[in-house]
Amino acid sequence: MSELADVPWNLILPLLVLQFILMIVALIDVIRNKRTNGPYIMWIFIITFGSLIGSIIYFVFGRKND
């Protein structure tokens, strides 16, 4: 547990929060309109496990706007 305490949380936390916001927004968007390029279940996996890159890829290629 001492290793966890050594992590400089006050520096890392804003980063994690921002990534989390990005992920949540992407997930809400997928679940709400479900019109994606390819199956939307796949996009949920990409967003959840791809962290920053996953969310970017979803917003660039996954969204179908019409």
Binding site: Q19, L22, I56, F59
Partner: protein, 260 residues
Amino acid sequence: MTGFMTLLQKEWKEQTRNFKVLWIPLVFIILGILEPVSNYYLPEIMKSVGNMPEGAEFLWPEFTGEEIFMSLLGQYQFIGILVIVLAFMGSISGERKTGTATLLYVRPISYRAYFLSKWIVLNGIVLASVWLGFLAAWYYISILFNSVNALEVFGFIATYSLWIMFVVTAVLAFSASFSTGIAATLSLLLTIGFQIVDSLIGEYWTISPWKLPFYATSVFNGNNDAAGLWWSVCITFIAVLVSIFAGVNMSKRNAAKTTV
């Protein structure tokens, strides 16, 4: 300028609906925080995951805050520009393809207002993102490294902003002229491809828009080539104006290609 304010509102609403107003700033801010933090903890990261042999001593270079700004600029020059191009490659050609443009073009709008409303909103989003990213980086750099002179940072950001404006205008003009795929290819060629050309054989000239990021970093180095900088700024301004003019004309000419 028929209905310019309406078009501006329409554009803003569209960019909020597709979340670009949210995710583009977030990406730039995350990159801006990641760069100082990862550079600061690089020795420890390498120690735990780098598979270094036992007892190996490695002297890590001592970075200054200015150098972190430069390496962040390198990140923005590739990932940032990639994000800008991919996010906005379809902003006019996509409207033609999906048929949104039909709803617009049947109305008596002026194409100047149409193009400029897009130009203003897109530049607003992208420039705000870049500024927020650099400000976040500045804050982290002042904690982890040394505090960088505010005047230098503002000079750096201002010079770089002009380059970003050039990129956005070029993407928009290409999007007005061609289909989305061609627009993306040409934009990437113009921004990232020409960067490589400029870095390979760029020492033979001092004036070009692609030199602007270099001049931005030279604010920190102090080796100011003032004439080269100001000529590049002038040339870039002219290039932006020409691209706007071309974009307005091409969006008018391509109006017939709209899917009905």
